[in-house]
């Protein structure tokens, strides 16, 4: 990880000593503006929606029901939540995702937490719209293996969604487009909650430990993590080869074959709620956060695609613990036992 210099926005007033005059005034103004910090969670973050699919409560409710409905899989045995489990940070605990064929895929299941903010979705960024993204696993033979037209027939004949569809779209007609739009609307509501880190940034000095505070300084400084893990979601949404074992999965290069840096490059994941989501990395090769930190400290294989933002910072054992302590503060304190939206079974 490359070491980057950062404005000490976490310590408001640091720049004020720089003196009087116009330059000093400008710098003070900049420091005040930045005092919220680039990693500070907005008060009411809302994932942007396309004009063709505005997020509404009725659509979100419908999408939530669909998300937990096992009928979305061909075998009626898997829902979106089977792999994107809210109790595990909206992913699962497997190293590699497994679908209808029960064969391990090349990559780990990604979290859908905050997916509404992601411009290019998937580990290699092959999908630009959440509405397309939510259909892909339903239809893919290796995942839920559903025939989308058959799904429309199945849900239409059940009539279970008639009222929800009426409320969301104005008629009870089931279409692939409506399934996709309702699911996307629901996923857009999966916004990372307030974490101890946010309370610390808002001024509560007791919200995180001293070790975590030191970890944050390392994260934004010497360890260089913030070169890629930027913004309030702690991701720049870019693709990097971080030196993991290279296999047949070439990552972003599928979409950017002429970009040497795209080979073995995968999406930088969000670190929000990261403690809930082991194992880590696109290939699930790191079992805990200390393994992750160790990876960045170790020398990397020499290859052309390796991200220039990577370095191998020298960190003591204590500093590595500081980093892990900081990462733990990014997990929200909301109730992670999300209640699904399926109606209770009718009593016969």
């Amino acid at each position: 990880m490359k070491s980057i210099s950062t404005v000490s926005w976490a310590k408001p007033g640091t720049l004020r000593f720089l003196g009087a005059g116009l330059l000093g005034f400008a710098l003070m103004f900049a420091a005040d503006v930045a005092s919220a910090g680039p990693h500070q969670r907005p008060d009411h973050p809302a994932a942007p929606a396309f004009a063709f699919n505005p997020t509404t409560p009725a659509k979100t409710k419908l999408g939530c029901r669909l998300f937990f409905d096992h009928r979305l899989a061909k075998a009626n045995d898997t829902s979106c939540a089977s792999c994107h489990d809210p109790a595990h940070g909206w992913t699962d605990t497997r190293r590699k995702s497994r679908g209808a064929l029960d064969v391990a895929e090349a990559r780990r299941t990604q979290t859908v937490l905050g997916a509404g903010f992601v411009p290019k979705l998937g580990w290699s960024g092959g999908i630009d719209a959440l509405e397309g993204f939510v259909l892909a696993p339903i239809a893919r033979a290796h995942e839920m293996a559903q025939d989308l037209d058959a799904l429309v027939v199945e849900l239409s004949s059940s009539g279970d969604y008639s009222r929800g569809l009426e409320a969301a779209f104005g008629s009870s007609e089931v279409t692939v487009g409506r399934i996709s739009q309702a699911l996307a609307a629901f996923v857009r509501t999966l916004v990372p909650g307030v974490a101890p880190f946010d309370r610390w940034q808002a001024g509560d000095q007791n919200a995180v430990s001293d070790s975590a505070k030191e970890g944050f300084d390392l994260f934004t400084g010497k360890a260089g993590c913030a070169a890629c893990h930027t913004g309030w979601r702690f991701t720049g949404d870019a693709f990097h080869d971080i030196g993991l074992e290279a296999g047949s999965d070439i990552g972003r290069a599928v979409h950017e074959p002429n970009n040497p840096l795209a080979r073995y490059a995968f999406k930088t994941p969000t670190l929000r709620d990261v403690a809930l989501r082991p194992p880590y990395m696109h290939d699930g090769s790191k079992s805990d956060l200390m393994d992750v930190v160790d990876h960045y400290v170790q020398p990397k294989p020499a290859r052309e695609s390796l991200s220039p933002l990577l370095s191998s910072p020298v960190l003591s054992d204590r500093e590595k613990l500081n980093l892990v302590d900081f990462l733990l503060t990014l997990t929200s304190v909301t109730d992670h036992t999300f209640k699904n939206c399926l109606p209770e079974r009718k009593q016969k």
């Binding site: 719209a129 509405e131 397309g132 259909l135 339903i138 239809a139 033979a141 989308l148 996709s180």
Partner: protein
């Protein structure tokens, strides 16, 4: 020699004016067709932002240019601006309802955004416009891939 400052200033001003006029005469703006060609090249090189600027220039002088609207829609789509793309393809199809490129690309945009039924609508329009033409085949393939989860 005594220099008349007023005369010197007047001469300088005249020189600047003549130079400017000369420059204006020798530097002509590219024609809309040249700009369109530049935009096409930029799209081929995946410079969609730059292409959009050129296409906007073309459309300022020729707002009924369906090809330009179609290419602008394509550029917007490639940049993930699906709402803009939809409006721009719609403009192209208002001007030229049987525009094969716009029908194809708008259908592909519908696939990308999960609207399979709308994509099939575009496919039907292509079928009646040009039968099994290249655009029809491309969109048909995109719909099949989308339906298989290969977005």
């Amino acid at each position: 020699m005594k220099i008349n400052l007023t005369a010197l200033l007047a001469a300088s001003a005249l020189l600047v004016a003549v130079s400017s006029a000369s420059a204006m005469m020798t530097t002509s703006d590219p024609s809309p067709s040249d700009t369109m060609k530049q935009a096409e090249t930029l799209v081929k090189n995946e410079k969609y932002g730059d292409a959009s600027e050129k296409l906007t220039m073309v459309l300022k002088s020729d707002p009924q240019n369906a090809d330009a609207w179609n290419l602008l829609g394509f550029s917007s789509r490639m940049m993930g601006n699906f709402d803009d793309a939809e409006k721009q393809y719609t403009n192209a199809l208002k001007i030229e309802p049987n525009h094969k490129g716009a029908l194809n690309y708008m259908g592909q945009m519908y696939v990308q955004t999960g609207r399979l039924e709308d994509a099939r609508g575009m496919l039907q329009r292509l079928k009646s416009t040009c039968g099994d033409c290249k655009e029809f085949t491309q969109l048909d393939t995109a719909i099949r891939e989308g339906k298989a989860g290969n977005y």
